[in-house]
Assembly symmetry: C2
Homo-oligomer: 308 residues x 2
């Protein structure tokens, strides 16, 4: 491992975290949360999802949340969209980075966005074409169920590679492989990322892991060792997918930052300030069971700052 390495950790609690739970947060609290994490050093935060409010009412305030977040100095707020309509709304609201989601598993894509994976790929090309016309938006893609699917079981690695290649050729600026249902294991994950890095050229790869079966941080280590430098995480381990049974819990942001702190890998994030935000989350979401181990245990005591 190169100790001068640096990773980028993107907070997704406001999007993936709020997607499944029944608690609703006011727009003002969402913006307080975003601001507090930006102050703690987060360069990128996924702040909302542009989806029909009839399906996910917790994101009915997508536009004011995005607009408020755009005003925060030094922060790149990103948004998730499942289709062209959402992408156009996000572009109209001034989104600088938009993540288009599609599932590698055909059945999961059908459940999640009600179309075939091929139709989603065609729609992604339309989204990219629209963003190029406007010339102010960066398009990333999230490939859900890249490491397994609760409906189909195993997902073919050849299919992951094939879809990633099509997505790279379409002109996305980031490919985020998501272990949506927490099926991935470290050996598989390292193998898939190593394989993809040969296929997608210079397009940066990111990883989005859930801790559904306790392997979240083991998978982070495996992806890191395979060269991944961009990780999603949700404060308090919030999150899940309403269409994937049993798929609860993103990896906890605070535990992930602590891991890289222990490794001496720079994150740009101040862990103490992040733990303060984690403390406020307990009040904001008092009905929810939060996960993550660090908040209760506290960071490991070091003999001397920076010592090993």
């Amino acid at each position: 491992m190169m100790m001068q390495d640096r990773v980028s950790i993107r907070e997704v609690g406001l999007r993936d975290g709020l997607q499944l739970i029944s608690s609703r947060l006011d727009t003002e609290i969402k913006l307080d949360w975003i601001k507090a994490q930006a102050d703690a050093g987060f360069a990128e935060i996924e702040v909302t999802s542009f989806v029909p409010p009839s399906i996910l009412p917790q994101f009915a305030d997508a536009k004011p949340v995005l607009e408020g977040a755009q005003d925060i100095d030094g922060l790149l707020p990103t948004v998730l969209v499942p289709n062209l309509k959402g992408a156009v709304l996000a572009m109209d609201a001034g989104a600088r980075k938009i993540n288009f989601v599609l599932s590698v598993s055909e059945s999961h894509n059908m459940s999640n966005v009600r179309r075939s994976t091929d139709d989603s790929l065609a729609m992604l090309r339309e989204v990219i074409a629209e963003s190029k016309r406007r010339d102010t938006h960066s398009i990333g893609v999230a490939l859900a169920t890249s490491f397994g699917c609760s409906i189909e079981g195993d997902v073919s690695e050849a299919r992951v590679a094939n879809i990633a290649e099509q997505v790279a050729l379409a002109g996305v600026e980031e490919i985020n492989l998501a272990d949506t249902v927490g099926y991935g294991d470290p050996v598989q994950i390292a193998r898939i990322f190593r394989n993809l890095s040969k296929i997608v050229g210079t397009v940066p790869l990111a990883a989005h892991f859930h801790d559904t079966r306790g392997l979240g941080l083991a998978n982070v280590m495996a992806a890191f060792e395979a060269g991944v430098r961009r990780f999603d995480a949700a404060l308090g381990g919030l999150g899940g997918c309403p269409f994937a049974p049993g798929a609860s819990g993103n990896i906890a942001t605070e535990d992930t930052v602590h891991l890289f702190d222990r490794l001496g890998v720079a994150t740009g994030i101040n862990l103490d300030r992040l733990l303060d935000v984690r403390g406020r989350l307990v009040d904001w979401l008092s009905e929810e069971r939060l996960e993550g181990r660090l908040f209760g245990a506290g960071p490991a005591r070091r003999t001397a700052p920076g010592g090993a």
Copy 2:
């Protein structure tokens, strides 16, 4: 990774798991638990600790628990002892494998067993001499705080190596490095185990991890990749050390077995039967918050048995 690899997972929930919690289990329930895990395929279970009942009353039944466990076909029950007196009691009760615990951190050893590390090393030699006189007991050693200490902070890797070398020369049959307070990280753990494997000759190394800061299974992967094939774990992630603040939670046995199942590494354990025992643990310890993610989520769905 060699797919023909096999690991041995030792259940320590009955010892490390019961050590910290206030719930008390009847001897009969302990033996039901041991029997059920032996039936699920565990070859080795740490069933109790030979310590003064005035300090840890939950182990006042050490002798009947050990004797009951010795009667279970195919099971090697092990016991923990902190001193010569405990070792002699364990030998008198017929223990076939005894784990002597000492801490690499001087301050932690003083808190835990009220003597210096050197005094513990001298006592270990007496325990080995006594076991050789009787010729029926195997002596292992657990080196607590091998990856950090909540009192001292960082623990010198040279000191870990030096103590492990002394312990190997003393004639132990296993060296178990314990991350007692959950400070270890995957890079450090791999480095320490790789270094030790050059120092201790043919003495098998084992790993004992806590999930205090979410790194439990990441650390298992790192140790596995560094060649370790013996792992401690506690059902439901029970456990901790009463003398190490914030040190709660061994890695969960069920999550650990599931990890190796995903990797195609044989454990000899039937995960479905283990999850049945995990279900019974909820009743046995109804006052305790159990950890581990797999029990709630269920094993990952495979497309075909043994598929990858």
